[in-house]
Subunit: 165 residues, 2 copies
Protein backbone atom coordinates (compact mmCIF):
# COMPACT_ATOMS: atom_id res chain seq x y z
CA UNK A 1 0.00 0.00 0.00
CA UNK A 2 1.34 3.42 -0.94
CA UNK A 3 0.30 7.01 -0.25
CA UNK A 4 -1.60 8.35 2.74
CA UNK A 5 -3.44 5.82 4.86
CA UNK A 6 -7.21 6.20 4.86
CA UNK A 7 -8.41 8.29 7.79
CA UNK A 8 -11.89 8.37 9.26
CA UNK A 9 -13.62 11.32 10.95
CA UNK A 10 -14.78 11.21 14.56
CA UNK A 11 -18.57 10.89 14.96
CA UNK A 12 -19.80 14.18 16.40
CA UNK A 13 -23.53 14.47 15.61
CA UNK A 14 -26.46 12.69 13.95
CA UNK A 15 -26.58 15.48 11.36
CA UNK A 16 -22.92 14.87 10.44
CA UNK A 17 -23.28 11.10 10.30
CA UNK A 18 -26.58 10.94 8.38
CA UNK A 19 -26.54 14.02 6.19
CA UNK A 20 -22.90 15.05 5.94
CA UNK A 21 -19.98 14.31 3.63
CA UNK A 22 -17.68 12.91 6.34
CA UNK A 23 -16.75 9.25 6.32
CA UNK A 24 -17.27 8.47 10.01
CA UNK A 25 -17.93 4.72 10.26
CA UNK A 26 -19.17 3.11 13.45
CA UNK A 27 -17.35 -0.04 14.54
CA UNK A 28 -19.22 -2.10 17.12
CA UNK A 29 -17.96 -3.26 20.52
CA UNK A 30 -16.02 -6.04 18.74
CA UNK A 31 -14.37 -3.41 16.53
CA UNK A 32 -16.30 -4.59 13.48
CA UNK A 33 -18.58 -3.09 10.85
CA UNK A 34 -21.07 -5.15 8.80
CA UNK A 35 -20.38 -5.54 5.08
CA UNK A 36 -22.83 -6.53 2.34
CA UNK A 37 -21.26 -7.63 -0.94
CA UNK A 38 -23.18 -7.80 -4.21
CA UNK A 39 -22.19 -8.63 -7.80
CA UNK A 40 -21.70 -5.31 -9.60
CA UNK A 41 -23.25 -6.67 -12.80
CA UNK A 42 -26.12 -8.90 -11.69
CA UNK A 43 -26.87 -7.18 -8.37
CA UNK A 44 -26.98 -10.62 -6.72
CA UNK A 45 -26.09 -10.77 -3.05
CA UNK A 46 -22.83 -12.72 -2.85
CA UNK A 47 -21.89 -12.66 0.81
CA UNK A 48 -22.17 -10.80 4.10
CA UNK A 49 -19.04 -10.26 6.14
CA UNK A 50 -17.31 -7.93 8.54
CA UNK A 51 -14.41 -5.48 8.44
CA UNK A 52 -12.26 -4.06 11.17
CA UNK A 53 -10.63 -0.64 10.78
CA UNK A 54 -7.65 -2.00 8.88
CA UNK A 55 -9.79 -4.04 6.47
CA UNK A 56 -11.90 -1.00 5.60
CA UNK A 57 -8.81 1.17 5.13
CA UNK A 58 -7.18 -1.44 2.85
CA UNK A 59 -10.36 -1.95 0.83
CA UNK A 60 -10.62 1.79 0.16
CA UNK A 61 -6.94 2.30 -0.61
CA UNK A 62 -6.38 -0.81 -2.77
CA UNK A 63 -9.84 -1.19 -4.36
CA UNK A 64 -9.84 -4.91 -3.45
CA UNK A 65 -12.16 -6.32 -0.80
CA UNK A 66 -10.57 -7.04 2.57
CA UNK A 67 -12.57 -8.47 5.45
CA UNK A 68 -12.00 -9.53 9.03
CA UNK A 69 -12.49 -13.25 9.54
CA UNK A 70 -14.28 -13.84 12.83
CA UNK A 71 -13.66 -17.59 12.75
CA UNK A 72 -9.93 -17.26 12.02
CA UNK A 73 -9.58 -13.88 13.82
CA UNK A 74 -7.35 -12.41 11.11
CA UNK A 75 -7.39 -9.75 8.43
CA UNK A 76 -8.61 -11.51 5.30
CA UNK A 77 -7.73 -10.39 1.77
CA UNK A 78 -10.57 -12.14 -0.06
CA UNK A 79 -9.14 -14.39 -2.77
CA UNK A 80 -5.64 -14.66 -1.28
CA UNK A 81 -6.14 -18.45 -0.95
CA UNK A 82 -8.84 -19.16 -3.54
CA UNK A 83 -7.86 -16.63 -6.23
CA UNK A 84 -11.46 -15.33 -6.12
CA UNK A 85 -10.40 -11.70 -5.62
CA UNK A 86 -13.19 -9.12 -5.41
CA UNK A 87 -12.46 -5.86 -7.25
CA UNK A 88 -14.59 -3.07 -5.79
CA UNK A 89 -16.57 -1.05 -8.31
CA UNK A 90 -18.58 0.92 -5.75
CA UNK A 91 -18.37 1.24 -1.97
CA UNK A 92 -21.36 2.80 -0.24
CA UNK A 93 -22.10 3.54 3.40
CA UNK A 94 -25.52 3.57 5.03
CA UNK A 95 -27.38 6.33 6.85
CA UNK A 96 -25.90 5.80 10.32
CA UNK A 97 -22.59 4.54 8.87
CA UNK A 98 -22.58 1.14 10.57
CA UNK A 99 -22.79 -0.86 7.33
CA UNK A 100 -20.75 -0.96 4.12
CA UNK A 101 -22.10 -2.02 0.71
CA UNK A 102 -19.52 -3.34 -1.76
CA UNK A 103 -20.43 -3.77 -5.42
CA UNK A 104 -17.73 -6.05 -6.82
CA UNK A 105 -16.41 -7.88 -9.85
CA UNK A 106 -15.40 -11.39 -8.81
CA UNK A 107 -12.51 -13.21 -10.42
CA UNK A 108 -13.60 -16.79 -11.12
CA UNK A 109 -17.30 -16.05 -10.68
CA UNK A 110 -17.68 -17.57 -7.21
CA UNK A 111 -17.74 -16.06 -3.74
CA UNK A 112 -18.80 -18.88 -1.46
CA UNK A 113 -16.39 -21.19 0.34
CA UNK A 114 -18.82 -24.08 -0.23
CA UNK A 115 -18.23 -23.64 -3.97
CA UNK A 116 -21.37 -21.83 -5.10
CA UNK A 117 -21.56 -18.52 -6.94
CA UNK A 118 -23.34 -16.85 -4.03
CA UNK A 119 -23.44 -17.83 -0.36
CA UNK A 120 -27.24 -17.58 -0.63
CA UNK A 121 -28.23 -20.74 -2.49
CA UNK A 122 -31.21 -21.87 -0.43
CA UNK A 123 -34.55 -20.22 0.21
CA UNK A 124 -37.24 -20.49 2.85
CA UNK A 125 -40.94 -20.47 1.91
CA UNK A 126 -42.76 -17.53 3.52
CA UNK A 127 -46.35 -16.45 4.20
CA UNK A 128 -48.98 -18.58 2.44
CA UNK A 129 -46.20 -20.70 0.97
CA UNK A 130 -44.90 -21.45 4.48
CA UNK A 131 -48.38 -22.29 5.75
CA UNK A 132 -49.04 -24.78 2.96
CA UNK A 133 -45.71 -26.56 3.24
CA UNK A 134 -44.92 -26.57 6.93
CA UNK A 135 -45.19 -29.73 9.00
CA UNK A 136 -45.38 -29.01 12.71
CA UNK A 137 -43.75 -25.64 12.05
CA UNK A 138 -40.82 -27.12 10.13
CA UNK A 139 -40.13 -26.42 6.48
CA UNK A 140 -37.52 -27.67 4.05
CA UNK A 141 -35.12 -25.29 2.36
CA UNK A 142 -35.35 -25.05 -1.43
CA UNK A 143 -32.16 -24.89 -3.50
CA UNK A 144 -31.65 -22.03 -5.95
CA UNK A 145 -28.20 -23.11 -7.17
CA UNK A 146 -27.51 -26.73 -7.91
CA UNK A 147 -24.06 -26.73 -9.52
CA UNK A 148 -20.90 -25.66 -7.74
CA UNK A 149 -18.55 -23.31 -9.59
CA UNK A 150 -15.51 -24.96 -8.01
CA UNK A 151 -14.60 -27.88 -5.79
CA UNK A 152 -13.72 -26.55 -2.32
CA UNK A 153 -11.26 -29.39 -1.71
CA UNK A 154 -9.26 -28.38 -4.78
CA UNK A 155 -9.15 -24.76 -3.68
CA UNK A 156 -8.86 -24.90 0.10
CA UNK A 157 -7.37 -28.36 0.65
CA UNK A 158 -7.14 -29.11 4.35
CA UNK A 159 -7.79 -25.56 5.57
CA UNK A 160 -10.35 -25.60 8.41
CA UNK A 161 -13.96 -24.87 7.43
CA UNK A 162 -14.94 -21.38 8.66
CA UNK A 163 -18.49 -22.33 9.62
CA UNK A 164 -19.14 -22.14 13.37
CA UNK A 165 -21.88 -24.37 14.73
CA UNK B 1 -50.70 -15.04 13.34
CA UNK B 2 -52.45 -18.35 12.82
CA UNK B 3 -51.32 -21.94 12.34
CA UNK B 4 -48.19 -23.60 13.65
CA UNK B 5 -45.41 -21.32 14.81
CA UNK B 6 -42.22 -21.54 12.77
CA UNK B 7 -39.74 -23.99 14.28
CA UNK B 8 -36.02 -24.15 13.64
CA UNK B 9 -33.78 -27.23 13.70
CA UNK B 10 -30.87 -27.59 16.11
CA UNK B 11 -27.45 -27.18 14.47
CA UNK B 12 -25.78 -30.57 14.53
CA UNK B 13 -23.07 -30.62 11.84
CA UNK B 14 -21.39 -28.49 9.17
CA UNK B 15 -22.80 -30.85 6.52
CA UNK B 16 -26.33 -30.28 7.80
CA UNK B 17 -25.95 -26.50 8.05
CA UNK B 18 -24.18 -25.91 4.71
CA UNK B 19 -25.50 -28.65 2.45
CA UNK B 20 -28.75 -29.78 4.02
CA UNK B 21 -32.41 -28.84 3.75
CA UNK B 22 -32.86 -27.95 7.44
CA UNK B 23 -33.51 -24.37 8.46
CA UNK B 24 -31.07 -24.12 11.38
CA UNK B 25 -30.22 -20.43 11.79
CA UNK B 26 -27.42 -19.26 14.05
CA UNK B 27 -28.24 -16.39 16.38
CA UNK B 28 -25.19 -14.64 17.85
CA UNK B 29 -24.40 -14.05 21.52
CA UNK B 30 -26.86 -11.14 21.48
CA UNK B 31 -29.55 -13.48 20.12
CA UNK B 32 -29.49 -11.76 16.71
CA UNK B 33 -29.03 -12.77 13.09
CA UNK B 34 -27.91 -10.32 10.38
CA UNK B 35 -30.45 -9.42 7.68
CA UNK B 36 -29.79 -7.93 4.25
CA UNK B 37 -32.81 -6.43 2.50
CA UNK B 38 -32.92 -5.70 -1.22
CA UNK B 39 -35.62 -4.39 -3.55
CA UNK B 40 -37.13 -7.43 -5.29
CA UNK B 41 -37.48 -5.56 -8.59
CA UNK B 42 -34.36 -3.40 -8.85
CA UNK B 43 -32.03 -5.54 -6.73
CA UNK B 44 -30.92 -2.38 -4.92
CA UNK B 45 -29.72 -2.82 -1.35
CA UNK B 46 -32.29 -1.07 0.81
CA UNK B 47 -31.15 -1.70 4.37
CA UNK B 48 -29.25 -4.00 6.69
CA UNK B 49 -30.80 -4.96 9.98
CA UNK B 50 -31.11 -7.69 12.56
CA UNK B 51 -33.72 -10.23 13.64
CA UNK B 52 -34.15 -12.14 16.86
CA UNK B 53 -35.89 -15.51 16.90
CA UNK B 54 -39.36 -14.01 17.11
CA UNK B 55 -38.73 -11.55 14.25
CA UNK B 56 -37.56 -14.34 11.95
CA UNK B 57 -40.52 -16.54 12.89
CA UNK B 58 -42.99 -13.71 12.24
CA UNK B 59 -41.35 -12.77 8.94
CA UNK B 60 -41.65 -16.34 7.71
CA UNK B 61 -45.19 -16.89 8.94
CA UNK B 62 -46.67 -13.53 7.89
CA UNK B 63 -44.58 -12.76 4.79
CA UNK B 64 -43.94 -9.23 6.08
CA UNK B 65 -40.50 -8.14 7.27
CA UNK B 66 -40.03 -7.99 11.04
CA UNK B 67 -36.74 -6.92 12.59
CA UNK B 68 -35.28 -6.42 16.04
CA UNK B 69 -34.43 -2.80 16.73
CA UNK B 70 -31.13 -2.63 18.60
CA UNK B 71 -31.54 1.07 19.43
CA UNK B 72 -35.09 0.68 20.76
CA UNK B 73 -34.58 -2.93 21.93
CA UNK B 74 -37.97 -4.06 20.66
CA UNK B 75 -39.46 -6.30 18.00
CA UNK B 76 -40.03 -4.05 15.00
CA UNK B 77 -42.70 -4.66 12.37
CA UNK B 78 -41.19 -2.57 9.61
CA UNK B 79 -43.72 0.00 8.43
CA UNK B 80 -45.88 -0.09 11.56
CA UNK B 81 -45.12 3.60 12.13
CA UNK B 82 -44.18 4.81 8.66
CA UNK B 83 -46.55 2.68 6.57
CA UNK B 84 -43.51 1.52 4.55
CA UNK B 85 -44.30 -2.18 4.99
CA UNK B 86 -41.96 -4.65 3.30
CA UNK B 87 -43.69 -7.63 1.67
CA UNK B 88 -41.24 -10.51 1.33
CA UNK B 89 -41.00 -12.05 -2.12
CA UNK B 90 -38.02 -14.29 -1.34
CA UNK B 91 -36.20 -15.18 1.89
CA UNK B 92 -32.80 -16.85 1.51
CA UNK B 93 -30.28 -18.07 4.03
CA UNK B 94 -26.51 -18.19 3.58
CA UNK B 95 -24.09 -21.12 3.70
CA UNK B 96 -23.50 -21.16 7.46
CA UNK B 97 -27.02 -19.83 8.19
CA UNK B 98 -25.96 -16.74 10.11
CA UNK B 99 -27.40 -14.28 7.59
CA UNK B 100 -30.83 -13.79 6.00
CA UNK B 101 -31.46 -12.18 2.61
CA UNK B 102 -34.90 -10.62 2.12
CA UNK B 103 -36.07 -9.62 -1.35
CA UNK B 104 -39.00 -7.27 -0.75
CA UNK B 105 -41.63 -5.07 -2.31
CA UNK B 106 -41.79 -1.81 -0.39
CA UNK B 107 -45.02 0.12 0.08
CA UNK B 108 -44.30 3.80 -0.57
CA UNK B 109 -40.98 3.13 -2.28
CA UNK B 110 -38.75 4.14 0.62
CA UNK B 111 -36.92 2.16 3.29
CA UNK B 112 -34.69 4.66 5.04
CA UNK B 113 -35.66 6.58 8.17
CA UNK B 114 -33.80 9.63 6.82
CA UNK B 115 -36.30 9.71 3.95
CA UNK B 116 -34.33 8.21 1.07
CA UNK B 117 -35.28 5.21 -1.06
CA UNK B 118 -32.30 3.23 0.19
CA UNK B 119 -30.22 3.67 3.34
CA UNK B 120 -27.18 3.61 1.05
CA UNK B 121 -27.21 7.07 -0.56
CA UNK B 122 -23.53 8.01 -0.26
CA UNK B 123 -20.44 6.41 -1.74
CA UNK B 124 -16.74 6.41 -0.92
CA UNK B 125 -14.12 6.70 -3.69
CA UNK B 126 -11.84 3.62 -3.74
CA UNK B 127 -8.48 2.62 -5.23
CA UNK B 128 -7.09 5.10 -7.80
CA UNK B 129 -10.13 7.29 -7.24
CA UNK B 130 -9.36 7.45 -3.52
CA UNK B 131 -5.70 8.25 -4.16
CA UNK B 132 -6.49 11.14 -6.49
CA UNK B 133 -9.11 12.70 -4.22
CA UNK B 134 -7.81 12.15 -0.70
CA UNK B 135 -6.35 14.98 1.33
CA UNK B 136 -4.27 13.73 4.23
CA UNK B 137 -6.13 10.42 4.06
CA UNK B 138 -9.57 12.04 4.21
CA UNK B 139 -12.14 11.86 1.42
CA UNK B 140 -15.57 13.36 0.99
CA UNK B 141 -18.59 11.13 0.51
CA UNK B 142 -20.41 11.47 -2.82
CA UNK B 143 -24.21 11.49 -2.89
CA UNK B 144 -26.06 9.00 -5.07
CA UNK B 145 -29.58 10.08 -4.10
CA UNK B 146 -30.41 13.75 -3.82
CA UNK B 147 -34.16 13.83 -3.31
CA UNK B 148 -35.96 12.40 -0.32
CA UNK B 149 -39.02 10.24 -0.96
CA UNK B 150 -40.68 11.50 2.22
CA UNK B 151 -40.14 14.02 4.98
CA UNK B 152 -39.11 12.13 8.15
CA UNK B 153 -40.74 14.77 10.37
CA UNK B 154 -44.10 14.15 8.73
CA UNK B 155 -43.77 10.40 9.18
CA UNK B 156 -42.01 9.96 12.50
CA UNK B 157 -42.81 13.26 14.24
CA UNK B 158 -41.02 13.46 17.57
CA UNK B 159 -39.97 9.79 17.72
CA UNK B 160 -36.31 9.48 18.75
CA UNK B 161 -33.81 9.06 15.91
CA UNK B 162 -32.49 5.45 15.90
CA UNK B 163 -28.92 6.41 14.95
CA UNK B 164 -26.41 5.69 17.72
CA UNK B 165 -23.27 7.85 17.74
Amino acid sequence: MSGSPVRFQARSSIEQVEEGNDLAPRFDDRGLITVVTTDADSGELLMQGFMNTEALQLTISTGEAHYYSRSRQVLWHKGATSGLVQTVRELLVDDDQDCIWLQVDVAGGASCHVGYRSCFYRKVPVGADFKSRQKGGHVELEWTETEKVFDPEDVYGDAPNPTIL
